[in-house]
Each structure stands twice: as C-alpha cells, then as structure tokens.
C-alpha cells in the first residue's frame, strides 16, 4: 500500500481504475430507482452482517495510528464500533428512502422549427472523492453517488486505509451479488502522494472531483486538479449584531454558533458589533462566552467592555479557528460590517441580528456568501437542516453548487432534442 511506483506504473494503475469506472458508469445509468434502492439496502445489511471483518480491519488502523501518536480527537474519528457501523448502514437506508433526482425533466422547449427540446437531469458519470481519516465517509460517499447513478472512485486518508478497504470490499461484493457492476465503488489502494496528485489529473475518466477535509487538502486539490472541482468546507463565519438587534436573541445565537460544536465549518469565528450598542450587549455576551471557556480577542472598544478580552490582530479576522476562540470587532455602520465580512469571509455562512427589515434586506443582498442569515445561528448550514435528507458537503464556490449539497448537486443535465428531419438554414 505504500509502494513507490514509477510514473508509468501510476498512470497505468489509475487508467485501469478509470476504465473500470467508465464501464460501471454505463451500467449504473441503466438501473432504475427501485434497483438502486434495493442495492443500497442490501449494502446496508451487508455492512452489519460483516461488521466483524470491518472492525478487525479498523483495529489494525487504530493500533497503528495510536502507535504513531495520533491525537485523541482524531483517534476517536477513526474508531469504528458496532454502533457506528449500524449508523453507516442506517445512512445507506436513509439514502434509499430519498427521492431519486435522475430522469427529472427540468425544462422543455418547443421551437418554431418543430424541434422539441427536453432538459433532463442525468448522473455526473464518475465522481472522485478525496477525504481524510473518517471511515464512515466511505459508505456515505458511495451511497450518495450510487443513488444518483454515479460511479465513485475514493481516495481515503492513509490512517483509515484498512477500514476503507474493508468497507469498500463489503459493498463491492454486495453489488456483485445483486447483479450490479462492483466497480460502482472503487478505492485507490496506494497511499503514495504521487498517486493522489496523478488522480487529480485523471480528467479523461473522472467528471468531477470533491475534496472533503481540511483547508490544506482542499487547497492542494484546487491547485493540482485538472478535473472540475467542487470546493467545500472552509468557513470563516461571521455574526453581525446591528444597532437594531433584539439583544435578547443575541446572546443565545452567538453562544450557539460559537460553542454548540467548535470543530465544524458552520461555527461562528468572528463577531461584529455596532458601536452604538457595544456597552449594552458586550458585558453580558462576554460573561456568557467566558463561562463557555471561549477566549475573546477584541479591539479597543471591545476590551473596554470585556476586560478579560485579548487584543485582536488583523490575522485573527482571517482565521477559521475551529476552536474556543472568537474575534470581536466594533463597527460604526452596517456598510462597514458588510465590507469587513466580504473582505475576510470564505463565502460560507454569515448572519445579521436585526429587527429592521431594510437592514436585513441589505445584508442578505450584499454579503457574498452561500448562506446569509437573519436572526438565526450559522450552525444551520447543513443538508439535513435544510431538509435535503443528505449532504455530500458545503460548497463555498459559486460554480455548479453553493452551500449544502444534497443528491441534486451530484447530478448534471443533458439536452435531448427530437426532430423529424430538421436542418439548419
């Protein structure tokens, strides 16, 4: 698994995966919804039935990671248990229960020359997913891609290698038993970095590449890939408390957005407060944040109200902490708040707290983010919270999909045009 291959060998290896995925793509596009749902449910059953095999592979990963000194939090993400395998299976069953977006006629046009044009929702084809050391992503990514008729090629983190291999094998074997092309799911079984980089250039065989993980992984994919990428995940999310805010709502929303779960992309990392209400809101807010062990980094006006706050730097404003730290800045206007957010945010989620409709409208319109909130926590940016029933990630780019991505966002479309002999004059 860590063999160093020559470039020719790497290309041969990836080409063979690509060709198998292309064949699987054609086979998957012939399945109807009932066939796909049946296979998903059978894969869920198999994960539970084969849980010992998966757990024993996971133990190998876990022991090695522990030996290598992996931090407790990461070890916990890596660890599988019966309950977690049951949750993976349940995830596949839930995906089976969702509506199938494939085949939807999105629009039709009757042209004056008699051509009839249908815009039809179709699978992407082959999806590549590069992710880190959470083995549950393996089943989840397969489920979402399979339901939308896509073949998937997975490159998981090396720390979860044996776990990913076991999950992929169980699902692939089930597909075969059910008469589905087992290459609907393939795992890159080589952790050489050169293989991953070459995978990002497998444009001839892969239609879209989705990185799921930290900022470093995503940057590497964006810089190296020639395959179209959907950029996900980094969230430097802001809350702006306007002078027109209902202060009773402000403390619960900020505490929720900052502390309900700290390591996630929709957590609040930066707070802006209108200077006119700084003395009214900051003492209570500071007290509540400090009780939750949040380190506050503020400008002078903030520190005047919260003596425990540290001095904030320019760098803080651009930092996604993913930790119990919050930068806090006072602003003199809504315009200043919008300009600050558009300068420092990552296009993920930003909120205004206001009781003034014109201020809310201006913020919704002018803040350039996937999800813009009025009087609610940024933590709601999530496929399940939006009612999509599934989520492959949160897109922070503007091309194709923006914000939470569910099943529809894993599809493309084609135009089907029917004529009776039309030629262009």
């Amino acid at each position: 698994m860590e063999n160093t291959l020559t470039n020719v060998e790497i290309n041969e290896y990836l080409k063979s995966l690509g060709m198998k995925a292309q064949a699987a793509k054609t086979a998957l596009q012939r399945l109807d919804t009932a066939q796909k749902n049946h296979a998903l449910n059978r894969a869920a059953d198999a994960l539970v039935q084969e849980s010992e095999r998966i757990l024993s592979a996971n133990e190998k990963d876990y022991a090695r990671a522990k030996e290598n000194g992996m931090a407790e939090g990461l070890l916990d993400r890596l660890k599988l248990t019966d309950a977690r395998i049951e949750a993976m299976a349940e995830g596949l069953r839930q995906i089976a229960d969702l509506d199938d977006p494939v085949g939807e006629v999105m629009e039709t046009f009757d042209r004056p020359n008699g051509l009839y044009i249908e815009k039809v929702r179709v699978p992407m084809g082959v999806i590549g997913i590069i992710y880190e050391a959470r083995p549950n992503v393996t089943a989840d990514a397969f489920g979402l891609c399979f339901k939308t008729g896509n073949a998937v090629i997975l490159k998981g983190g090396r720390d979860a290698f044996y776990s990913n291999q076991a999950v992929t094998a169980v699902i692939g074997e089930t597909m075969e038993k059910e008469g589905v092309d087992r290459n609907a799911i393939q795992l890159i079984e080589n952790n050489d970095r050169a293989v991953t980089t070459a995978f990002m250039k497998l444009k001839e065989y892969v239609d879209v590449l989705i990185p799921r993980g930290g900022a470093g992984l995503i940057r590497s994919v964006v810089e190296n890939s020639t395959i179209p990428v959907i950029e996900t995940g980094t969230g430097n999310c802001h809350i702006y408390i306007d002078e027109t805010a209902d202060l009773a709502k402000a403390v619960p929303i900020v505490i929720n957005a900052k502390t309900q779960r700290i390591g996630v992309c929709n957590a609040c990392e930066s707070l802006l407060v209108h200077e006119k209400i700084a003395d009214k809101i900051l003492p209570a807010l500071g007290k509540a944040l400090l009780e939750k062990q949040v380190e506050i980094r503020g400008d002078e006006a903030v520190r005047a109200q919260i003596p425990e706050a540290h001095a904030v730097t320019e760098e803080d404003y651009g930092t996604e902490y993913l930790d119990l730290i919050l930068s806090v800045k006072t602003v003199s206007s809504l315009e200043e708040a919008v300009a600050h957010i558009n300068k420092y945010n990552t296009g993920h989620s930003d909120a205004i707290l206001t009781e003034d409709k014109a201020h809310a409208q201006k913020f919704l319109r002018e803040v350039d983010s996937a999800c813009v909130y009025v009087n609610a926590s940024t933590r709601f940016t999530d496929g399940f919270e939006f009612g999509f029933g599934a989520e492959i990630g949160i897109s922070t780019q503007k091309l194709h999909a923006r914000g939470p991505m569910g099943l529809k966002e894993l599809t493309s479309y084609k135009y089907q045009i029917t004529g009776d002999g039309q030629v262009r004059p």
Copy 2:
C-alpha cells in the same frame, strides 16, 4: 503592451485589476434591471458614435497582422467595418431586451423550526474571459456579464489588442458617464504569456474563468487555472444512421451537419452507418458529400460503396477536423454505435437517425453528450437556436452548465435564511 514584467510586477498588476473588479462587482449588484438595460443601450450607441476611433485602432491590428502573414480567414475575423460595429451594438441592444435572471427566487423551504429559506439567483461576481482574435467578443462578453450583474476581466488575443482596447475604452467611458463603475469592464493590457498564466490563478478575485477559442487555449486554461473553469467548445460530433432510419432524411441532415458551416464546434466530424443499410445509403450519401468537396475517410465496407473514399485511421475517429473531411464507419448494432461515440466524442453533440422509438430512447439516454439529437442536424446546438436569446459558449463539461450557455448560466445562487432567534439544538 509586450513589456516583460517581473513576477512581482505581474502580481501587482493583476491584483490591482482584481481589486477594481471586486469594487465594481459590489456596485453592479446594486443596479436594478432598468439601470442595467439603460447602460447597455447607451454602450451600444457609443460604439456606433465612436466607430471611427474603433476602426482606426482595428486598422493598426489589421496592418500588423497582415505584415506578420496572418491567413486570410483569420484576417477576415479580425477585420472590423461599420456594419460589424453596428452588429456589435445591435448585440448589446438585444441583450438589454432579454429577461434579467438575477433576483429570481428559485425555491423556498419552510422548515419545521420556523426558518424560512429562499434560494435566490445572484450574479457570479467577477468573470474572467480569455479569447482569441475576434474583437466582437469584447462587446459581446461584456454585454452578457453586465446584464447578469457581473464584472468582467477580459484577456483578448494579442492580434486584436488595439481593437479590444478601443472597444473597452468606449464602453468603460460610457459606464462612467452613466454613473456606473467603469471597471465593470477591464482588459488585461499586457500580452506577455506569463501575465495570462498568472491571471488563471487570480482565484482570490475571480469567481469563474471561461476560455473561448481553440482546443489549445482551452487545454492551457484547464491545466493552469486554479479558478473554477467552464470548458467550452471542442466538438467531435457524430451522426449515427441506424438500420431503422428514414433514408430520405439522412442525406440532407448529414450534408447540413457537415457542410453548412465547417469551422464550428457543432459541425459533424464523424458518421456511423449500420452495416445492414450501408449499400442503400452510402452511394447516394457519398455522391452528395463529394459534390460538396468533402473528403471521405472510411473503413473497408464504406470504401466498397464509395470508391473515392480514403482509408480511415484510428486517429481520424478522435479528430475534430473543422474542415471538409468526414470519417465514416460501419457498425453492426446500435450498441456498437453508442460505445464508439462514448469513446471518441467530446461530450458536445451527437445524433441518431431512426424511426424506431426504442432505439431513439436508448441513444438519448446512453450517449454521454451535452446535446443528443433524434432526426435533426447537430448544427442546432446554439444558444439562439435553443431560444436563449444569447450565448456565451457551449459547455462540454458536466459541472454547472452543459451545452449552450445563456444568461442564466452566468449566474450562481445563494440561500437567504430568515429566523426569529433560532439556535441549533
């Protein structure tokens, strides 16, 4: 314009364009439809009023290109005349008349927790367009981007440099007179290749990059860009004449698709014929093609019916000729035709000629192209022919937009979420 800059100077230059585009982006998003349409019509008037200035700049380009030995066809594309400037102006007026897609509420969700979510169509922000030596693209690309509320940064071909500069100046000056940020349109005024490559990495300021031109330009953008790209243009388009085809429709459709205009991406480059009807269709088809000066490259069975045909090679099947050449192959089944097309096509446009509904359905479903036709010429793949009223290009990728791209395809969306204090449990 051909100064060699240091990397630091290149980055400073592009950063200054990027920052001006970001400021223009915010200003453009505040314009309503009437303001945008008024400015487009004023820009159209100005192009005509300032036609002498544009023609004199174009003469400089033309003289230099001629001196450099540019081919006649390319010289013709470069040449501007009063009529062509009037056509550019008319293009802007037509864009003003189209519906504005920005602001459309695409979907709404009422969540059980009381959150109200609106999915709203918004501009992309800043669009980069890299193109070759057709100065009319300058006005056209500006018009499409401006109508959709986007700032545009243009990099035109060096051969049209002075023409592009004049068109950009006339439009920019008009914007300023009309109280619109003149940086709604900016031209990269340096033809150093290093500047173009660095522009492809201006991700912090540019939301999407669209190359318009030949295969070499598009490949270079795909390989170098870190900005999300919409790949356009290359079309290795097929027509498959099934054994169930109405032979009376076949000759006119093939002749139209091959010869009506040869240098365009939706022209037919390869023909497949079911072997059972080869002797019925090929003699007449060969005669008609030869009358139109088309060189036929065929397999043995084809050459048995058309003695004038040359031998076809594997390489021919993958070639977009953009010329009076057609590869022709016989196949033994619909399945073989579909597999051949999916192996060699570029995902652009492919057609089946058949009177059998099941064959048509199978072809529509299984051929993996943006536009799939039954009984019509591939030449209809075009934003105007589809009724979009405009076209920025034909996308051959599956992410974001596929097939002809009109105004909608230059937009993104955002989620606007309104609550009254909701926090995530």
